[in-house]
Symmetry: C2
Subunit: 140 residues, 2 copies
DNA sequence: AATAGTTTGCAACTAAGTTGCAAATAATTT
DNA sequence: AAATTATTTGCAACTTAGTTGCAAACTATT
């Protein structure tokens, strides 16, 4: 278990267990968003699927990862890069999903455009999902 | 069965059946987005849930309704107002979900802002989900 | 009215997600 | 470092969501 990962877990008042460390490491290595199924595949029979569900839930609560809504209705999870904390997410960024390889990126450094609503509507948050071809798929 | 509804079904080369007419009428009355569960509740025991699944799927294919991705992962469906056709949707509009009443609106007349992506990424479509308080909930 | 084509409901199934609880593991105290 | 306490895990059982095959019912066509 890497010290860096133990640090992150401790900072969120979570005990450093094998499963949490392994799943957190997976996110760091991937650098992109993952589904529950992705994680189940990559960890093989190491952990029970219930443990994966509970770990993801805990990570979302603690502000370690955030969820991404998708058109095909599979929940995606990605590392929070801003300093999110317990019950206080501020991952206000655009998400990009590649039509070709399905990889999902958090575009942290792109500005969210301002959106004007009709009279009577008040805005509290915005989720922007962009589809297209990613950097990687374009290179080939 | 209203003639207007039969018209819409015929135009999409669908036979005018009780269930299709009733479900289409529901969408017209609601004016907002509905989930599979909403429809199941509103139609009571009139139709089998399998029929509802199949009807929604058919309507999406034929360009009568479109799906809306949501943060909490429930698939929402809403009437297409643009002239969508079989396999060719162009419902390029913002979706608004009320934090208070959960009603979901298609904001057809609001412009989609242009989004600039990092080098190497190419855009093919955009889904914008806005959360906040709706017109209706503000009036009270 | 008869026929051909399509849609529906049922039953059975697969997949996704949740819950309770005892055993195992991690953190804290002595 | 061992014992105690608190937290987490895995299993089994369950609920909910969605799919598939097929015979019966319905719609459209002749
Ligand atoms: Zn790609
Ligand atoms: Zn993100
Ligand atoms: Zn409202
Ligand atoms: Zn819409």
């Amino acid at each position: 278990m890497k010290t860096e990962i133990i640090e992150i877990l401790k900072r969120s008042q979570l005990s450093a267990t094998e499963s949490r460390a392994a799943i957190l490491a997976l996110f760091q290595e991937a650098g992109t968003a993952l589904t529950h199924a992705d994680i189940e595949k990559k960890t093989g029979a190491l952990f029970d699927r219930v443990t994966i569900y509970r770990t993801l839930q805990t990570f979302v609560e603690k502000g370690i990862i955030h969820t991404i809504p998708t058109a095909d209705n599979a929940i995606l999870y990605a590392l929070c890069k801003d300093n999110c904390s317990e019950g206080n997410h501020h991952d206000n960024h655009i998400h990009f999903i590649c039509d070709n390889c399905s990889t999902t990126y958090c575009l942290d450094h792109i500005n969210i455009p301002e959106i004007k609503l009709p009279k009577g509507f008040f805005i509290s948050g915005t989720d922007i999902l962009v589809n297209g071809i990613c950097k990687n798929c374009n290179d080939n």
